[in-house]
């Protein structure tokens, strides 16, 4: 069920990116889609009642170099978290580039409305 809600968020973003005629709104739609995918990835690695995948002093025994069994059995999946960190940075990068293009286009055309930005045919 949480997956489905997350997918709903994704589809809302897709709707916004496809239907809206304003450049900033399109960017917003893309951002919403990115949030949804990131959330979905992290949700995949969640365990009910889990702990964060960070070992602190209480879970590590320096003498025996052993990690507490409780950590091994409850830690959530670190791999999707690493992926999401990468994905967040990528989305920030594409946001920066996209906004630059928007701002420059605004300077040229004086509008954010893509129905009026139409010099290219087809």
């Amino acid at each position: 069920m949480p997956y489905a809600l997350c997918f709903l968020l994704f589809m809302l973003g897709l709707y916004c990116a496809v239907v809206k005629k304003n450049m900033v709104k399109i960017v917003i739609g893309i951002m919403v889609m990115e949030y949804a995918v990131n959330l979905f990835l992290v949700m995949l690695g969640y365990r009910s009642g889990g702990t964060a995948p960070i070992i602190d002093k209480t879970q590590f025994d320096p003498a025996t170099q052993q990690i507490a069994a409780g950590f091994l059995n409850t830690s959530v999946d670190p791999l999707p978290q690493a992926l999401v960190l990468t994905a967040i940075v990528i989305s920030l990068g594409s946001l920066a580039l996209m906004i630059s293009i928007c701002v420059r286009t605004y300077e040229k055309y004086g509008t954010f409305d893509i129905t009026q930005i139409r010099r290219l045919k087809g």
Binding site: I55, D56, K57, P62, V89, A96, S100
Partner: protein, 150 residues
């Protein structure tokens, strides 16, 4: 735009130091606590963004010239790639954590541990901080130039 009132200026010049310190802390302890090079770098960038908002753009230009900023951006990325290539040089495989495995194992849960991971964090922090500040600065200056032109 000459910046905001004296109150904002005074407060932000104090807060800026704290933010920079916090950013450095997040970067340096990235391998032990939540955070890391990326988050820390963004925090560093936001300290300068705060200065820019409070004092105006010229002030920040004096503190951190744009040319220097873009050089830092390139160098940060270059250092990170260099860490990868040093792995190739020292251990024969790309991206080996050669420091941890060969030269400097360190103590678990201590600041100096994990070999190249803290170094990578520093390189990424440098790169991210410089580049994000650069893009925000460019976006805001660009707007002013065009509005002045009209």
């Amino acid at each position: 735009m000459k910046g905001m009132t004296i109150i904002v200026k005074t407060v932000s010049s104090w807060v800026k130091v704290l933010i920079v310190l916090f950013g450095i802390y997040i970067i340096l302890f990235g391998h032990l606590t939540p955070g890391g090079g990326f988050a820390g770098g963004v925090i560093l960038a936001s300290s300068y963004v705060l200065l820019m908002l409070a004092f105006g753009r010229e002030f920040v230009q004096k503190d951190l010239p744009l040319a220097l900023d873009s050089k830092l951006d390139c160098l940060g990325a270059f250092f990170f790639a260099l860490i990868a290539i040093l792995g190739l040089v020292f251990s024969g495989v790309f991206f080996v954590n050669f420091l941890y495995q060969k030269y400097l194992p360190g103590q678990p849960l201590k600041l100096i541990s994990a070999g190249t991971i803290p170094l990578s964090n520093i390189a990424i922090g440098l790169k991210v901080g410089a580049s994000l500040f650069l893009v925000i600065f460019l976006l805001s200056t660009f707007r002013r130039d065009t509005s002045a032109g009209r």
